[in-house]
Symmetry: C2
Subunit: 452 residues, 2 copies
């Protein structure tokens, strides 16, 4: 039995900690299951649980390229199916199954469970996964789903309405997306279950759909031609059209930590970072990632989150809506985790057309930028740590701590870290932001170099 | 009749907007009295009111050297008695009266009113000042005080207990510092008045105290020998020992905007800076000086203040205590207003003994730094605006936009802005902060220069 963890982007439901380039599943504020004194991220917690359930050896993660470095740093050497670009869950499932078949030698008859990377759950969830596999292996069921037994008429989850029953599982009658409160109450009377987003099936049953798109179950082939798969969700393309769907009820702890109010309930500490709270605060959580203090006084049932992207201060009952409020914020993310390192934008100032931007950039050892130039800005770099090779207009230059270099607009350049390399980049130019980049090549060996 | 506005430092009652180097009286969030659509600072509002009362021509401000540039930028050409260092209010009053005598030609018989720079009040307050002067001129009263008629038994103010009454004024019986609620109620039953911190007297009556310290009423002399005056408050040294004290009641609007709850009541806007509030917020004020958004959701009766020094989130009933909570914060102020310009610390990172600090520095046109060196840090400067002359080890260098220069530890340097000059300063060194500065001279003409 294989496991695929789908690691999506989290969007803005946990703004300001999650953004387009940083996902909530990597933020460390949960307690470790087997050591409540230490802190871990959602993805670390799930992998710990899979290991306890002896499922980790056959687990892979499907994630975008931008998440690979983060996954490796949090989980070590894990198998990752890399999405070349974001194309929704149907292509991601196809890519993952192809990875299992062509990289791990899975056979068409092998069973796989697809699950989100960030369920907040307990050990019996993983026992239930094995029941799903059992149902797929031993009944006429094509796809088995997991349905959590509701503990309240929640309006936040989708529901699965079961039909005829069997021992341990039931046919799926229909799906209902997030209902209003009255409808949720009616659904619970019909024994409807919360849709946990878990699907279990035989790998061959899904991979045989590839031929319709002119593809075969070869991971590298699909990776190269990923845009031949339609941008559509697995639920819509597969589940809604399937005949033999079953649901297995799960009666344990299951939560979607997709809002601040839900997350606060499970947080390891009521405060993280540089935080001062007076004695008048009650049921208030503070997360501070900035290097200036947050002082909280006399607040009840509030959540405060401060990051380089912004500051949220909300009553816990009101914060579930943060995604809608912040959709109008179109700032460049101030903190970005990239494949090759991190970018922290620490100051932006604008006067008329003129813009000055100060960024702190870290490049991991051995990583390099593309060979590129900018049309509308000069850059001045100051090295604060490590060593790197800079190629500028084809000439090589060694950058070391304390050194500074000026790169004018139009000058082609690329940089490669000889060891972990940190520098401050000052942009002097016209408003253009990250769009002002003209890439010539990503291939370091193809960058022209003299004086080496 | 002369007016002296005493401009003290505000300490931390309005943290994080006020700090040791930045005072609340300069922050612009009040409505202008004669134009409610525009915003002004406390000191601008008082000067507007003095002008309306035709008192501005004979008004001077007593302030520390660090506040002079700010006063000039907010008020234009105003007379300022400059405190060489902070020595409490008794020396400040002596210095101010000497300024009136030796710079403005005031005679010993002329009357002066000493008042704080930041009363939040209305036009009739200034009419009452004239009544104080009248009492000093035409009765046996040596010093006349202003007492506001209490509107509630406040525990935040000092009280003046009046004795025998005259038409329009009363003898002062005694003072009571901030009482508890019950005592405040008892004081009000005795017709006690709030101490507005206003004293009115004949200039000569106070200046004749100078001889006790070996000084004469000469401003320049006192400026040079300011440390010969004792570090003591005017209240303690003069008022508490005086025989002929009177108090004139004032029956109008008078508030000390010395807490966030008091200040919010008078703020021009409920939000300033980059702020998003949802419809669930009520009676909530947000001040954001950062360039990232503050999102406020579902909060009632709260105040949120975000600055480079920190973030305060408080229930309005709880925030009066902020001074006590933040006394444990011993960070270098992140934003500093200096005589010669401003310093904004935008990033500090520490790894072991190694510290990297990034600061944005503005130097006003014509201003210069001292000639100095650092023992424990190298600096790399990048010019983002303007032109300056840098003297480094006696050699002159012109700095222009886009230029970068490296200054090693031990290298003596000084800089003078030829036009408004902005640069990014990166410190690479060991933990030392602002203490690591060895000044050789402040006198630009004494800095050794070659190649000019």
């Amino acid at each position: 039995m294989y496991i695929v963890l789908l690691s999506g982007g989290s969007g803005k439901r946990l703004w300001p900690l999650s953004n387009d380039l940083r996902s909530k599943q990597y933020i460390k504020f949960l307690s470790r299951e087997n050591d409540s004194s230490s802190v871990c991220s959602m993805v670390q917690r799930v992998m710990d649980q899979l290991q306890t359930a002896q499922l980790s050896q056959t687990t892979i993660i499907c994630a975008s390229a931008g998440q690979v470095e983060m996954l490796r740093s949090q989980l070590g050497n894990v198998n990752i199916a890399i999405e070349p670009d974001r194309r929704d869950t149907f292509p991601a499932v196809m890519l993952s199954c192809a990875y299992l078949a062509s990289k791990l030698g899975a056979s068409p008859e092998d069973v796989v469970c697809i699950l989100p990377v960030d369920p907040y759950t307990e050990g019996s969830y993983f026992t239930t996964l094995k029941q799903l596999a059992h149902v797929v292996e031993h009944t006429e069921t094509e796809i088995a789903l997991m349905g959590a037994v509701p503990t309240c008429p929640s309006t936040k989850y989708g529901y699965i309405v079961p039909g005829a029953g069997h021992k341990g599982y039931r046919k799926v009658n229909c799906f209902k997306e997030k209902p209003d409160m009255r409808y949720a109450q009616a659904l619970i009377k019909q024994n409807a279950l919360w849709n946990c987003g878990v699907s279990c099936f035989k790998i061959g049953n899904i991979l045989n759909r590839l031929s319709a798109y002119g593809l075969t179950p070869d991971y590298d082939l699909i990776y190269q031609h990923y845009d031949m798969l339609p941008k559509i969700s697995f639920d819509y393309e597969v589940l809604e059209k399937a005949d033999n769907l079953s649901v297995v009820p799960f009666n344990g702890l299951w939560k979607d930590l997709g809002s601040w109010s839900a997350l606060c309930e499970e947080m390891h500490d009521i405060a993280s970072g540089y935080v001062l709270m007076d004695k008048g605060c009650r049921d208030t959580h503070v997360i501070n990632e900035l290097n200036i203090p947050v002082v909280s006084m006399g607040l009840k049932d509030a959540v405060i989150v401060a990051s380089f992207d912004g500051i949220l201060v909300a009553d816990k009952d009101a914060c579930d809506n943060v995604k809608n409020i912040v959709q109008d914020i179109h700032l460049q993310p101030m903190y970005e985790e990239r494949r090759w390192g991190t970018i922290k934008t620490i100051d932006v100032s604008q006067s008329g057309e003129k813009q000055t931007v100060i960024r702190k950039i870290t490049i991991f050892q051995g990583m390099n930028s593309s060979y590129h130039y900018h049309n509308n800005r000069d850059e001045i770099w100051t090295v604060t740590q490590g060593r790197a090779e800079l190629i500028i207009e084809g000439s090589s230059l060694l950058l070391e701590m304390g050194g500074a270099v000026s790169i004018k607009r139009g000058q082609k350049h690329a940089v490669k870290a000889l060891e972990e390399f940190e520098y401050v980049e000052i942009h002097l130019g016209e408003t253009a932001g990250d769009q002002d980049i003209n890439r010539l090549t990503f291939d370091w060996d193809a960058v022209p170099k003299t004086m080496l």
